[in-house]
Symmetry: C2
Subunit: 192 residues, 2 copies
């Protein structure tokens, strides 16, 4: 049998790195977070840290992937409707500015097709739009949303609004992101 996979110590260290990365980013901001700092935060050399992640960008991508998993478990499953999950996530995001900043930064950098996280984000957006679009179709069948509305277009709009609100919120934290999304939902939900 070929020996493959990591040792127990390595698996724990990897998790520790992901957690520490978040703390460092939350404290210093994305721009001022270097692999040197990340390495120091977990008691490794730069090369030691890069043993776990082939690049800084891949490390960050893994942080976001893990966040997606946690969010999906917390707000995706037990929530009755995806819109409630979306609002819950957005509310939660206001408590983790480091993650929001990391996400905003990496998603924009990844528009470059050569960026290592390009495919990750392309697929992520596709799946988020697909899921939310499907939800809107359901609401239309249930009569809660105007059937004339294009569900895919509307889903894209929700995702866009969520992303754009984050930028404005980071520049001005007095902006209440969830309130704006609720307003958008009221706009698409049929009245009376």
């Amino acid at each position: 049998m070929a020996r493959r996979g990591s040792y127990a110590k390595g698996i724990a260290k990897r998790e520790e790195i992901l957690t520490a990365a978040l703390e460092v980013i939350a404290r210093n901001g994305y721009r001022r977070t270097s692999v040197r700092e990340l390495a120091e935060a977990v008691g490794l050399s730069q090369a030691g840290l890069l043993h776990y992640f082939s690049s800084k960008e891949e490390l960050f991508q893994e942080v976001l992937r893990k966040r997606d998993e946690v969010d999906h478990d917390s707000y995706g499953v037990d929530m009755a409707r995806p819109i409630d999950g979306l609002i819950a996530v957005i509310r939660h995001n206001a408590d983790v500015p480091g993650l929001v900043q990391l996400y905003a930064q990496l998603s924009v950098e990844a528009v470059d097709p050569e960026h290592p996280s390009h495919d990750f984000f392309v697929e992520r957006y596709e799946s988020v739009r697909r899921e939310f679009g499907e939800f809107i179709r359901e609401e239309q069948r249930a009569g809660a949303i105007d059937p004339e509305l294009d569900p895919d277009l509307t889903a894209t709009l929700f995702v866009a609004a969520s992303d754009g609100l984050q930028t404005q919120w980071m520049l001005d934290p007095s902006i209440d992101m969830s309130e704006h999304i609720m307003q958008l939902w009221r706009l698409v939900a049929r009245k009376a």
Copy 2:
């Protein structure tokens, strides 16, 4: 009298740099645009280029400021309604991906309060929201928009949607940004 200000040659060179920066970004993407390349593109050394702009970030900010001026002159003045101006700008943006990328990148980096362009973006968003919010108030007075809608909230939503759509469009250029904004406008505009 103290001699101050630039020579004719310098003023022309400065403009040339701003124009060339756009071309280089459009060709190489923001990530791969270095001051070395920028300098080569206009026949200067790195230090020579930095004589005009104290930093790379300041140069990029000036590119965006110039874009704002041009857009404002082109779509802000002669357009009847700001919403038409917004849609026209968004349509135009699809033809200048380099600018869109530069804007998206810099606006996110500038969320760091230490970033040299932080104040620029804070003020820019404030003024855009104020202008659009005022327009919405006018439409409400004219009876074109539900007076119950919070105009500032709605303005923020339009800005957020515009920004967020750009990210999705850069990742998937088949997305029609203007169509989505028109959809949003239909949602807020009173029907029948």
